[in-house]
């Protein structure tokens, strides 16, 4: 069966510090991978998605970046965090060519920037 891991579960970082969140998927090959951010009490904002190694599509211009160094690894990074980067970061995966894919979410990372 497929599983998705995210770490850390919670993170408190000062403004201006770097960020690295990691997501890995097990039990499937060549998944589509996604990073979402959810502000407190709000909906899901798609940040990045990737359909293959080294292929990253950015949905929202900001101080975040994503990389996919391996087939089942997706990393979200920032060089300098802003207060507005606080939120619940969710990684998700799907398998397919788009249009009807179901997305499966990881447990998320709660980031607080102080």
């Amino acid at each position: 069966s497929q599983t998705i891991h995210q770490w850390p579960a919670t993170l408190v970082q000062p403004v201006g510090s770097p960020l690295s969140l990691e997501c890995t998927v097990e039990g499937t090959s060549n998944p589509n991978l996604y990073w979402y951010r959810q502000a407190a009490g709000r909906g899901l904002q798609l940040l990045f998605y990737s359909v293959g190694i080294g292929q990253i599509s950015s949905e929202v211009p900001q101080n975040l970046s994503a990389s996919r160094p391996q087939d089942r690894q997706f990393i979200l990074s920032s060089k300098k965090l802003l207060l507005s980067d606080s939120g619940f970061y969710l990684c998700a995966w799907s398998v397919g060519t788009g249009g009807t894919d179901t997305q499966y979410f990881g447990p998320g990372t709660r980031l607080t920037v102080l």
Partner: protein, 111 residues
Amino acid sequence: GQQVMQIPQYQHVQEGEDFTTYCNSSTTLSNIQWYKQRPGGHPVFLIQLVKSGEVKKQKRLTFQFGEAKKNSSLHITATQTTDVGTYFCAGNLLDDYKLSFGAGTTVTVRA
């Protein structure tokens, strides 16, 4: 761009009562998906509707996809405390990897 609107934003329900949440898209969708997020948790896939006018049931939950494939609804009967959480609808276009999520309906239940 594609937008998915969801109403109401909040739903306060007396235990045992029914309620419905609605989802509307500005464009025709290839499918609609529903997810549930429990407080403090992550979204969990509930169901996918693909066909025009499709209706699916999961126990006390009834999901419907509109004839024009631009709207959907989730109806819950005899609400229980286990129904607490935020329900998201999400839709995408054919051959599009991206899902557009609604803002969600957050459900609280009065015992």
